[in-house]
Amino acid sequence: MRHEPRTLPRRRVSAVIAGAALTVGTLAGCGNSGNLAGSSGGVTTITVQQQAGDANVATIQSAVKLFEAANPDIKVNIQIITVDTKNTTNANVLSSANPPDVGVVPTNSPSYSQLVKNHKLLSLQSVWSAEDLKSRYGSALASALTAPDGNNYVVSVDSVYYSIAYYNPKLFQQAGISVPADHRITSANQLYSMVGALKKIGKQGLGLGGKSGYAASWMLDALLPTSASTAQVNNYLTSWQSAVPETAKYTDPAFTNAVQQLSDFNAHGVYQDGFLAADTPAVEAAFESGDLGMTIDGSWEAASFRKVMGDNLGWLLLPPVNATAKTQITAFAGDGMGIPANAKHPAQAEKFLEFYMSEQNMAASVIKAGGNLAPVFMPSSAYSGLDPLVQQMLADGKANGVQSGWTSTVPGTLGQSFFDPLIQSMYAGQASVAGISAKLQAQLATTRAGN
């Protein structure tokens, strides 16, 4: 049966045209929808990115509230991005024609080097000078945050301690485990006996989010300084730059012994059943519910654990590779913020970053609201409101020193992004310590060639 073509009533035609016009208008608007920044009535609105997470969101909300109160002519629109976005596609957003005014730039990811290399970030020399960041960061961090051209394109906005083995004191008591003195497990054998005792009472040993793609390599960051000399560690942290002579190889025992220790942990059943398929939030939940005696996590999680576990919470550091070495706390200060080259309101963005890095904001927002540590020197009194365990970690760091983690320092293409799948493969029986070391050494050559 053939249908005669129907003629549309005039009203319907008008409606279709109006609809099409609206659609085109909406699509055209999409081009600007990623960034709500603008100016109206003397008030400039800037967009500031922040990484997702309770502590991070609390920090930025507090900072924005204080900043807006001090700068009534600037309004801040907060844009939350995930950890995955931060390390992957956000570089494209920041290099676009319509980026946020302040963007999250992780200094240990390939995004950072791509952005710097292609001049997609503005120099923050005025922020660094205004807030005296070179001296407040300290030479090591200030040097790590300085680009090969001598400029500073980011500010490190917070600092955290990680690779902390939180434990459940009640379970330890039930299992008859004596809590190691000085927060330090003295040897791998001591760890194995602790895990064995926990398993005897029907609990799992050390929780590890093996699927999360970062937790596995955190442990290497803690172990490497106990396996290598200070000079070797420093070379591992910096040899990805072609200007730095390569004096420590990844095939050297200094590195392979640390990887071997991780392999031994797995062989001795230290981690919970099915850890390679578990992500970090699931492991945290299992620890809070008392299924795990210990778990690997960071200083930012202490307050969350305490909400569920109350005072039934303690912390330890992993056993050293060389018995004579003392494990130090591992720190990360790679969460950076920068101003994209195409930002619409760079002056206001600079003003925001200057405020963010001020001692006032560090104390009131980064530490008090979020519970992280400041990347710059702060008086002890600023930390008085932090969880008691984190205060203990701070005191430990002052007494015994703090170590920058290897995966937190080297580019992700050599560090975390490259190393995590290798470690997972090793745990899954697909790769050997020697194989991993050889691949890292080859990857180092590739990384040096591009830097």
């Binding site: 992957t88 699927k211 059943d273 099915g274 398929a277 293409t413 493969s425 899954a428 697909q430």
Partner: protein, 314 residues
Amino acid sequence: MSTAQTTNSLAPPRTPAEPKRGTPRRRPRRLGTALALAPAGLLILAFAGYPLIESGYLSLTRWGGIGSPTWTGFSNYSGLFTDGTVAHAALVTVEFAVLATVGIVVLATALAATVSAGVKGRAFYRVIWFLPGIAPVTAVGIFWSQAAVPQQGAVNVVLGWLGLGDEHEWLAQSSTAIYPTAAAAVWAGVGFAFILILGATEQIDVSIYEAAKIDGASRLRQFFAITLPLIRPVLAITTMLEFVWAANGFTMVWAMTGGGPGTATQTLPVLIYVKAFQFTDFGSASAMAVLSGAVLLVLGLIGLRLSNGRETSR
């Protein structure tokens, strides 16, 4: 009435002035058709043609995602064959796609045959079996990965109740991680295939089944001798589509395993994502995408050809 008159009266009436092909009167109609097709053609060019060309170009360059690409010729392609990672990912992709496709097609066919056989509540089953297909794939992946957790996961708990043990670590072992991932893909994908195959099954003339029944053919015999041969073209196209979708699928694998443990479930789409966004190596990632796209295109064309051939032979 003469024979000639009868013949004339049965012939279709010829329209008095039907234009011949290529005559001036036909041109305006062809122009109208071209104009009507133009928006769709432009959209296809913009959203399929341009990305394809751009991917092809990027595959011949070194590009970190920002700035201008540097021309490198075919080095990205030659690099793919010197690195065992790509070959491994290709094998994993084939394994995953075959498992998912076979699971989906077999299960969907069995379900369609059961529902079309007139089971009670068939309308209800149509909806129920289709529901997983409309659930967000990420949510499905996260749910099934949690369900596979030893002791606490739903699947392990149920197996524990049945006395089959509750400590299975399928996703944590490189030798088994692909199976629950493919199973989840089957669960999510069976609904769409079920609807396609059910539609084909219900097109079969009931009288054929009635004749077979009179001849004493059992239900099973009817299924293998009548249903399967008659729905073969739809089965072929469904199989081809499911294979291409599974081989191109990223979300389920990423949500369930992230490509791990290690690289045990690293399919080509996962490897392409990792290369492009974690290692900012868009050139190699594009080369992989172009190659795998070409292979799937050939497979798709073969599937279409087979499907058309069988339909014609009917």
